[in-house]
Amino acid sequence: MTDQQLRVSKIRNGTVIDHIPSGQALNVLAILGIDGTGGDVVSIGMNVPSERLGRKDVVKVEDRELSQSELDVLSLVAPDATINIIREYDVTEKHRVDRPERVTGVLRCPNRNCITTEGEPVDSEFEVLDDGIRCVYCDTIIRDDIASHILV
C-alpha cells in the first residue's frame, strides 16, 4: 500500500478491505454482518483518491481475520476488492475476492411469494450466475443493485 492509500490510520492486527467501489463501504459492512454491535473496531474511508479506481472506499476491521468464504460474498458489490490480512502492522496475506458459487443467508429474495420470505427455518440461498444471482428456491433472478437486497 502507498501512503496515499493510507488515509485511515494503520491497524495492528485485523483485515483491510481495499479497492471497494466508491459508495459501497456500508454495503460491504452489511454483507459481513458488521454493524458495530459486536464491538469490533471498524474504520471506514470513503471516496479516497485511487490510481486504479479514481475514487474508492476502504474498510479496516481490527482484531478480526475474515475468512475467504466470508469475503467472497463481497465480490457481488466489490468485485475488485483486495483483502489484506494484517499482523503486527505488516501485511501478511493479500488476496482478491472470487465470485462464490452460492451465497447463503446474506440476501433477501425480492419475490414476496418466495417460501424463504415466510418465516420457514431456512436461509435464503442464491446461485451466482455470470450476470446476476438466482434464488435456488423460487428461481427469481436479480441482475441489478444486488446490494439493495442485503438482509439487515
Binding site: 419475490n111 411469494n113 418466495c114 417460501i115 420457514e120 438466482r134 428456491y137 423460487c138 427469481t140 433472478i141
Partner: protein, 304 residues
C-alpha cells in the same frame, strides 16, 4: 431414475422423462398387472391450496397401485391455521406416509419441504413455480398424439404465472421441439424461464397473436388467462378474447393439430372444438392416472 424428490421439471433429463412415460405406457396397457404392486403403501396429501382435480388424480393413482391416502384436508381445519411452519408440517406427516404430495401457494415450497423429509416428496404445484407431474402427463399426451421430436408446439395464454407452462417449457428442452409462446405483452414468460431456455439453447419464439403461427403447429397448448391478472374487467375481456380458440379458427390449422389444455377451462376453448379431432384435453386429463402411477411406482421402489 434416481431422484428422491420430484420438485421441478428442470431436474428431469430426457432419460428420466422417457423412463416415466414408458412405464406409464406399460401401465395403461395392462393396469391389472399393477393392481397389487404397492399394497399397503400410503401417500400423504398436503394441499395448501384447493385443487380437487390433481388431488383426485393422485388418489386414483395410488389406489390403483394397491395403496391408500392420508389427507391433511383443507388448510382452514389444520394445524397450519394455527401458524405451524411448512417445515414442521412435512416432518410430522412424513411419519404417516411412504411418500408425500405437496401443493402450496408459495414458490419454492416443495424444494424447501423436500430438504426436511426422507420420504419422496412430489411437487403438485408451488405458486407460479412448477408443476412437474402435470408436465409428465402433458408430455405423455404429446408423445401419443404427435411424437416428442421434430415438432412445433404453441403454448398460449398466461405464460407469466402459469406453472404448467414453466414446467413444460423446461422439460421440452430435452427434445427436438420448436417452442412458440403466444401471449399478451403483460403475460410473457418470466425472466428466469427465458434465461433457462436460452442457456439450454432451445428454439424459442414469442408471438402476441395466434393467427400467423397456427397453421405451422403440431400441438397447441392453451392455458387460462385469469381475471385477477388485470386491473379491470374490460381490459381482461379484451385481452382474454384475443386468446381463445374455436372450431372456425382451427380451419386454418393442420388436420392433425393436437389441442391441449390442463383444465379446468372457462371459455378459452369453445365447446365446438370438443367435437373436432383436434380435442385431446380430456384424454390428457385421463392420462394423469397412469403417468402418476408410473412416477409413484418408481419413487416407491417399483424397480427393486
Amino acid at each position: 431414475m434416481r431422484h428422491d424428490h420430484i420438485t421441478s421439471a428442470k431436474q428431469l433429463s430426457r432419460d428420466d422423462v422417457e423412463a416415466v412415460l414408458d412405464r406409464a405406457g406399460e401401465i395403461a396397457a395392462d393396469q391389472e398387472a399393477y393392481a397389487d404392486r404397492h399394497d399397503g403403501s400410503l401417500l400423504g396429501l398436503l394441499f395448501f391450496e384447493p385443487s380437487t382435480r390433481t388431488k383426485m388424480s393422485f388418489s386414483a393413482a395410488i389406489k390403483r397401485l394397491g395403496g391408500g391416502v392420508v389427507d391433511m384436508g383443507p388448510v382452514d381445519s389444520s394445524s397450519v391455521k394455527k401458524g405451524e411452519s411448512l417445515a414442521d408440517t412435512v416432518r410430522v406427516v412424513e411419519g404417516y406416509a411412504d411418500a408425500l404430495v405437496l401443493r402450496h401457494p408459495s414458490e419454492g415450497a416443495a424444494k424447501m419441504a423436500s430438504q426436511f423429509v426422507d420420504v419422496p416428496l412430489i411437487n403438485a404445484g408451488d405458486g407460479a413455480g412448477q408443476h412437474p407431474t402435470q408436465t409428465l402427463l402433458d408430455l405423455y399426451t404429446i408423445r401419443e398424439s404427435a411424437g416428442l421430436d421434430g415438432i412445433s408446439i404453441g403454448i398460449m395464454g398466461d405464460l407469466k404465472y402459469g406453472r404448467t407452462v414453466h414446467s413444460m417449457a423446461h422439460a421440452l428442452t430435452n427434445f427436438d421441439v420448436s417452442q412458440h409462446f403466444i401471449s399478451p405483452e403483460s403475460l410473457k414468460l418470466p425472466r428466469n424461464v427465458r434465461y433457462d431456455l436460452h442457456q439450454e439453447g432451445a428454439s424459442v419464439k414469442e408471438h402476441t397473436d395466434i393467427e400467423s403461427i397456427l397453421p405451422s403447429l403440431d400441438v397447441l397448448y392453451v392455458t387460462r388467462i385469469q381475471r385477477e391478472r388485470f386491473p379491470d374487467e374490460s381490459e381482461y375481456r379484451k385481452v382474454a378474447g384475443e386468446y381463445r380458440i374455436d372450431a372456425a379458427m382451427l380451419e386454418s390449422a393442420r388436420d392433425d393439430l393436437t389441442v391441449m389444455h390442463p383444465l379446468p377451462r372457462v371459455d378459452e376453448i369453445a365447446d365446438d372444438v370438443d367435437e373436432t379431432s383436434h380435442a385431446h384435453y380430456f384424454q390428457q386429463a385421463h392420462n394423469g392416472v397412469p403417468v402418476r402411477m408410473a412416477l409413484l411406482d418408481m419413487l416407491l421402489g417399483g424397480d427393486r
